[in-house]
């Protein structure tokens, strides 16, 4: 048999291999953020617990902090929540909540029930500020440095692995 006839078969196997990897490959969380290494967009939003008070990222100048986008309607956020509660207890870095397009009562209910990992949470009820941050889904987590620059973004629920291997070392480095 002519060996050349094997070429299409080999090509097919290679292509099928790529497609198979593609099937199991979740591109979520791997998109580069357009805001990486750029100043965190300014905002002033009401706080979830006390809407008469507001919060603005400018207040965090000089500190390294985490901004975590969440909502009570978001299933993966519920998965992430217990981890966040645990990490917040370690006191390694302050976590601020960004409640995205949520119902206030439902959001407060979730925090009462499952614990509150956040120093405070702001509510972005109509999602305008979320667009400024390029949020595409929840949960999303940003690490913001002392100068107010976004140094890291994860569009996946945080877990032990991400926390220990990516976030903690980065926070340590930024705090030096």
């Amino acid at each position: 048999m002519n060996r050349l006839l094997l070429i299409p078969l080999i090509l097919f196997v290679v292509l099928a291999g790529f497609l198979f990897i593609g099937l199991r490959h979740d591109p979520n969380g791997e998109l580069p953020s357009a805001l990486l290494n750029k100043p965190a967009p300014a905002f002033q939003l009401p706080q979830l617990q006390d809407p008469t008070k507001t919060f603005s990222p400018q207040e965090m100048k000089g500190k390294v902090w985490l901004l975590n986008v969440w909502a009570s309607w978001c299933e993966p956020c519920r998965e992430e929540h217990p981890w966040l509660v645990e990490y917040s207890k370690s006191g390694q870095v302050p976590i601020y909540g960004f409640n995205w397009k949520d119902d206030r009562a439902a959001a407060l209910g979730l925090l009462n029930e499952n614990g509150n990992p956040y120093v405070l949470t702001v509510s972005d009820a109509d999602g305008r500020v979320a667009i400024d941050y390029g949020v595409t889904g929840a949960p999303e987590t940003y690490v913001i440095d002392r100068q107010g620059v976004i140094r890291y973004k994860k569009a996946l629920p945080l877990d032990k692995n991400i926390w220990e291997k990516e976030i903690v070392p980065l926070v340590k480095q930024l705090n030096q």
Partner: protein, 151 residues
């Protein structure tokens, strides 16, 4: 002469005012059409194989709302696209811009085409050489004539 120049400049100014006033009131249907045309070229960040025009995702609705507002406030399509790429990167565009990171994407197919043409040219040249006609020898001619006669 001075008066003439004054009259001309007044005319130009008036023409500008009329043009500006003409451009201002945007018919809602017209705006909707413009938005449709623009959002057809943009990707929904949630369901990534859908355009921003077609997507029913919550985020897509928010983005359409914002695009509509910006159009009403007189922003050009270019400005709106810049607003989106600043936030979501080039990923939001279905047609990626030509820049150093996308050269391969844009010009790769033409390079492949050129390579294909080169291979084809060499093959055809080789083939022409191998099938070049050779004159028959005297023996061969004789045999051929015999065969033809029988036929």
């Amino acid at each position: 002469m001075k008066q003439f120049a004054f009259a001309i400049s007044l005319l130009v100014l008036l023409a500008g005012l009329v043009a500006a006033r003409d451009a201002q009131p945007i018919d809602d249907a017209q705006l909707e059409q413009r938005m449709q045309a623009l959002t057809q070229q943009l990707r929904c960040l949630v369901c990534r194989n859908e355009t921003l025009a077609d997507s029913q995702a919550d985020l897509a609705e928010d983005l359409r709302r914002q695009i509509r507002e910006q159009m009403k406030s007189g922003k050009s399509d270019q400005e709106i696209i810049a607003f989106l790429t600043q936030r979501y990167g080039d990923f939001v565009l279905y047609k990626p811009p030509v820049k150093s990171t996308t050269y391969l994407l844009w010009f790769g197919p033409f390079i492949l085409l050129l390579m294909g043409v080169a291979v084809l040219y060499r093959y055809l040249k080789q083939r022409r050489e191998t099938i070049r006609e050779k004159p028959l020898t005297a023996d061969e001619r004789k045999r051929a004539e015999e065969l033809l006669r029988i036929g």
